[in-house]
């Protein structure tokens, strides 16, 4: 079959990809810079194509709770938003994590805090990878660095969500969401039939037949000892995810003396910076985490045995850099470089930061 290649925005690519991944529903609320997701879906009318439900909710809070309701029925459901809206969704996310429901959420990050700006940022890393809502829980976090990955991570996200019964967050930014690139679309997957859902999700609330006990979706247990037992089970799940699901890309690391660590749009900027540095004879490589939880700590620890330093490049005041420091364990120098509030550094600024903070730094 001939490949289907299109020129699309990141936000449009993920919208098309969720239809093709066999999603059952999308529930959203407009916010810049990701409104193209729901605009694309409403224009595309996937209910005509696959039977997929699309609904514009009254708020981000309602949208994430619609996702809870749909996910609890074993359906493949998604919502998306940008930073201020994602803050509103934190209540729903902790309930979804606590009820062990699978779902896909996308955060197209913009500058903050508060209403901040509509320009790109990566300053929601802590919120996304360390919790966000209350309680001891984790999201599985995927960080696309291209429009192609925006498309590919829709299906991957659903697969991981259902494999672990855990919410999956696609953490992207205003650059990846808004920029246009060519993207190879996957063929349409059929939506799960009700029979398949009942078989694959025996926990789903689809109506109780006489042949089984009733299914209850809740995150409540008033007995503290039981709640602790449940928390231990959750932690074991997160540990398994850390062991099995780490994804990253290593670029030009084999002969590198220095390593840039960057995800999403920052990784794209770093690739240009590496070309500039190597043209000057400085051997620099890039570790691009694809999963932010689980974080690729092991490869960074291994590289720390043979490189001279790491520079974490992020559009924030320095958030992921803490995970780099934890991975490197003080073996060599680790520094952060970033711009904030929607500002984007040039590759030359990254070159300068590496030269000053790492090569000339202590």
């Amino acid at each position: 079959m001939e490949k289907e290649v299109k020129l699309m925005k990141g936000n449009e690519a993920i919208a098309e990809a969720v239809i093709r991944a066999g999603a059952d529903g999308y529930f959203g609320y407009p916010i810049t810079p990701q409104s193209e997701v729901i605009e694309y879906l409403m224009a595309e009318q996937p209910w005509e194509r696959t039977g997929m439900v699309v609904l514009q909710a009254e708020s981000e809070v309602a949208a994430i709770n619609m996702v809870y309701g749909g996910a609890a029925c074993g359906k493949r459901v998604m919502t998306s938003s940008s930073s201020p809206g994602i803050s509103l969704k934190q209540e729903g996310l902790t309930y979804i994590a606590g009820a062990e429901l699978p779902c896909l959420v996308m955060n197209c990050v913009r500058g903050g805090p508060g209403l901040g700006t509509i320009q790109p940022a990566q300053s929601d890393y802590f919120q996304t990878t360390k919790g966000g809502g209350h309680g001891d829980y984790r999201l599985i976090v995927l960080a696309p660095a291209s429009v192609q990955e925006m498309s590919d991570f829709a299906e991957l996200g659903f697969d991981l969500a259902f494999k672990y019964r855990n919410p999956v967050m696609i953490l992207t930014d205003g650059i990846i969401g808004q920029m246009m690139e060519k993207v190879e679309l996957k063929p349409q997957k059929a939506r799960k039939t009700q029979e398949e859902i009942i078989k694959e999700c025996p926990w789903a609330t689809v109506g109780k037949p006489t042949t089984r006990e009733r299914n209850i979706i809740t995150s409540l247990d008033l007995v503290a000892a039981n709640q602790e037992k449940f928390n231990i089970k959750l932690q074991a799940k997160y540990k398994e995810i850390q062991e099995k699901e780490v994804r990253y890309e290593a670029i030009k690391c084999d002969d590198a003396d220095y390593i840039l660590v960057a995800y999403g749009c920052s990784a794209r900027l770093c690739m240009k910076a590496i070309d500039l540095l190597r043209a000057n004879g400085i051997k620099v490589g890039l570790i691009r985490p694809i999963t932010l939880f689980p974080f690729p700590s092991k490869i960074l620890f291994e590289l720390a045995n043979r490189v001279k330093g790491f520079l974490a490049v992020e559009l924030s005041a320095g958030q992921m850099v803490e995970d780099v420091e934890l991975a490197v364990k003080n073996k060599v120098i680790v520094k952060h470089f970033g711009r904030m509030g929607g500002m984007i550094p040039s590759p030359e600024e990254i070159v300068e930061a590496l030269e000053q903070k790492i090569i000339g730094g202590k």
Binding site: V53, A62, N65, R214
Partner: protein, 261 residues
């Protein structure tokens, strides 16, 4: 009466009433005299009589009835505070052939969940919303609710609800009746046998309406909270008749899409 005499009476042919098969054997967590147990029971009876256990998904709220899933033998989801109508919206749209209902208290439905309530009603989701209004936050220890009456003493209105400071009690049921997306809106109670019968009929209609695909069926049940009101169960029911019913009058508000009050 001897055991033998008793055994002669306890026979299937003498059975005049039994617990609904949709009610589990778990002990209800409600205070003696509370209306929640009766409301649960008539919902269970309606599900059993309609034969829709396998087609029904219920949503429990945050508050006294959070544990409803322990008492009804159906698939249930527990919602974050106030969000039940959002869950119900998605469930019904993803599985339109199912019966979906929410069960919510006044704090859940008329305070923190006002937006979800209004918008699910306005969109005309084909769901049933069962709203228990006792004018108080029972679970958290008797604080003021959006439906607390003027002058009513609660833990957060210890000198009585002062409208100048605390605002007015909210008649959300009359509000939702004004929305184009509600098909039937009624206010009932479960404090006497006659009222229980009427309330059960209203719940049955709310379930049956879902097949018509004409919008939300909304059943308010004005109920007591003898613990929160600091009254005995009979005194609480009397207080409810004398104080709650004049402000929240019982009866149909909207029938088959038309306002009747």
């Amino acid at each position: 009466m001897t055991q033998e005499e008793l055994n002669n009476i306890i026979k299937p042919e003498n059975l005049v009433y039994e617990k609904s098969k949709i009610m589990t054997n778990n002990t209800l967590s409600f205070c003696p005299g509370c209306g929640h147990g009766t409301a649960h029971r008539i919902i269970a009876e309606v599900i059993e009589e309609m034969g829709i256990q396998e087609q029904t998904i219920g949503i429990s709220p945050v508050g006294c009835s959070v544990l409803m899933y322990n008492f009804l033998d159906i698939d249930m989801q527990q919602a974050a505070h106030g969000r039940a109508p959002a869950l119900a919206t998605a469930i019904k749209r993803l599985m339109p052939e199912k019966y979906v209902f929410t069960y919510q208290g006044d704090g859940d439905l008329a305070a923190i969940g006002t937006a979800e309530t209004i918008h699910a009603c306005n969109r005309g989701e084909n769901i049933a919303i069962i709203f228990i209004n006792n004018g108080i936050y029972g679970m958290t220890g008797g604080q003021m609710a959006p439906t607390t009456l003027e002058g009513m003493q609660t833990a957060t209105s210890p000198y009585g609800r002062d409208l100048k400071i605390m605002g007015n009690p909210l008649k959300i049921t009359e509000m939702v009746a004004m929305l184009a997306g509600t098909y039937s809106v009624t206010r009932q109670s479960v404090h006497t046998a006659a009222n229980v019968k009427k309330a059960k009929k209203a719940i049955r209609v709310a379930f049956e309406n879902q097949k018509l695909e004409k919008g939300v069926s909304f059943v308010e049940i004005v109920s007591n909270c003898n613990s929160g009101w600091k009254l005995s169960a009979p005194a609480a029911n009397k207080w409810m008749e004398e104080n709650m019913f004049p402000f929240y009058p019982l009866g149909d508000i909207k029938v088959e899409g038309k306002l009747v009050k």
